[in-house]
């Protein structure tokens, strides 16, 4: 358990380079912006060398057309609704479960080995079960997303709640606070940034799960559109969707990361 927590919680939080920041403040943001710019330039230069990759301009134009003519909307709508519904469903189960595991040593000792022990199972292999249960479509995909989001959120929430200050818990007990008051007024606000880590990871995994599920079997969605474009050798369209998916994943993660940092500061 500990390995997973440390490795997922570190990363972005460790970015602090006082020396670079003090001497030339603009250098770091400039460097970060340069990364996608250089990648784009490389793409521009290398694209003509191979037939496997379309040039950036037709790709971006195809993406633009997707919104202008609307061919992309059904895909976005299908994927987004599966992601959001599944994520909400998974969180609705995972958050209370994680809270209870974090608060009760006994429950934790019963269930923690089950959750960490199954950590290495690729969740996608249960997708066929959902498909036999619900048939191909929104329900099976949503279920897949919910299952994928469940585990990281349970683990992060339990880990965060376990960090709640013993002094504040004692304060709560001395004030005769109810269990609900201790949860809502002490523990959850106190460990909110840690809970947010789980939300962020859970959301990212929801998105990945939806795309993978759509690659395997779906009626609609961006993942399906990519494999169709691939099968039809429509390379600009394929790359346009890939580009959009990457931007969406990156953007979503950045927004949630920003929210997390704001919570940490308060």
């Amino acid at each position: 358990m500990s390995t997973i927590e440390t490795s997922t919680v570190t990363g972005l939080d460790t970015v602090s380079y006082p020396r670079a920041a003090r001497s030339r403040r603009w250098l770091l943001p400039a460097g970060r912006v340069a990364v996608p710019v250089v990648a784009l330039l490389l793409w521009l230069v290398l694209a003509p060398l191979t037939e496997l990759v379309p040039a950036p301009i037709p790709t971006v134009k195809e993406a633009w057309d997707g919104f202008a003519t609307g061919w992309i909307y059904p895909g976005i709508q299908a994927t987004a609704s599966a992601v959001f519904t599944g994520f909400a469903l998974g969180t609705a189960f995972a958050f209370p479960a994680g809270y209870l595991l974090g608060r009760s040593r006994y429950l934790n000792r019963v269930f923690e080995p089950l959750i960490t022990g199954t950590f290495a199972i690729p969740r996608i292999i249960v997708y066929p079960i959902l498909l036999t249960l619900f048939g191909v479509g929104f329900q099976a995909e949503t279920g897949m997303v919910a299952i994928s989001a469940f585990f990281p959120i349970v683990m992060s929430t339990a880990a965060a709640v376990r960090q709640a200050s013993r002094t504040l818990l004692k304060l709560g007990r001395s004030l005769n606070a109810s269990r609900a008051q201790i949860a809502m007024k002490i523990v959850i606000p106190e460990v909110a940034p840690g809970i947010m880590v789980g939300i962020r990871i859970g959301f990212s995994i929801s998105f990945i799960a939806a795309i993978i599920a759509e690659f395997f079997a779906a009626k609609e969605g961006l993942g399906l559109m990519i494999s169709r474009a691939h099968a039809g050798l429509d390379l600009p369209r394929m790359y346009a969707i890939v580009l959009l998916v990457m931007i969406a994943a990156f953007g979503g993660n950045m927004i949630l990361w920003w929210a997390e940092r704001r919570l940490r500061r308060s």
């Binding site: 004692k170 001395s174 004030l175």
Partner: protein
């Protein structure tokens, strides 16, 4: 039995250790904190002072004996006791007002009333002007004042203070101790105050209870006959030195016992 004040009646506490054994923390403690009195508990580290405070606060059920407050047996946390802890217990996401009003909020008092009352107590503890600050903008001493204000606002019969200044530096500690006395003179709550600082105990208290090493009993109760209100000059007086030496003599024997039991003194093979 006494009708008012806090009565500790042959309290004994036994912990179950993780390997299933048992550890006797407190053997037999009796005593009375009369209404409006300031009583300090002092003893070697690990002697069960905080444990005893938890029992009075209703957070821990004793194995033997019991505590009676105002004629009622303590069976859980009560409205007429309020605790102040050594560690920072401010809620970092709330302002000073939100922190001070927290106890009343849990008790279900409406927002307007509890915040108005909180502002009065904030002035009393000398935090006027800091009402809307967050704990991260306050020093350690100010955070402890917030905790004291939160306890005072509950208007308890007795304040249970568990080394509230233990984490502060010496100067802050002396200063905030004087402030505590000023507030206490105004409010005249009963106080049960845990500390390991002899001067602090004598300076603040009406009575100092000196506890033995674990399993603890009360070795001696020393009445502090220094005039009130205490002034900075009190600490230079002869009587003050006599009292602190008396406490130190009692404590020295017990501390050696405690250290000996923990192996700390066995420096030579």
């Amino acid at each position: 039995m006494q009708r008012t004040g806090v009565v500790l009646d042959r309290v004994g506490v036994v912990y179950t250790t993780n390997d299933g054994g048992s550890l006797e923390a407190v053997r037999d403690v009796s005593g009375v904190v009369a209404d409006g009195r300031f009583v300090s508990l002092i003893g070697p580290s690990g002697c069960g002072k905080s444990t005893l405070l938890d029992v009075v606060g209703g957070l821990l059920r004793p194995a033997r004996g019991g505590v009676v407050i105002n004629g009622e047996q303590v069976s859980g946390p009560r409205r007429d006791t309020a605790m102040v802890f050594q560690e920072d217990s401010t809620l970092h996401w709330r302002t000073v007002v939100g922190n001070v009003a927290f106890g009343l909020e849990i008790a279900g008092v409406g927002r307007r009333e509890r915040e108005a009352r909180a502002r009065d107590v904030i002035k009393l503890v000398g935090l006027a002007g800091f009402e809307d600050r967050h704990p991260r903008e306050l020093s350690g001493g100010m955070k402890q004042r917030v905790a004291i204000a939160r306890a005072l606002l509950l208007d308890p019969r007795i304040m249970l203070m568990d080394e509230p200044f233990g984490a502060l530096d010496q100067q802050t500690r002396m200063f905030i101790g004087r402030e505590l006395l000023r507030v206490w003179e105004e409010t005249r709550k009963s106080v049960l105050f845990v500390t390991h600082d002899i001067q602090e105990a004598v300076y603040l208290s009406d009575e100092v209870w000196v506890m033995s090493a674990r399993p603890s009993v009360i070795k001696s109760k020393i009445a502090v006959d220094l005039d009130r209100p205490r002034a900075p000059g009190t600490m230079g007086s002869r009587r003050f030195h006599e009292l602190t030496s008396e406490v130190w003599e009692l404590l020295r024997v017990e501390s050696e016992k405690a250290l000996d039991a923990s192996g700390e003194l066995r420096t030579t093979p």
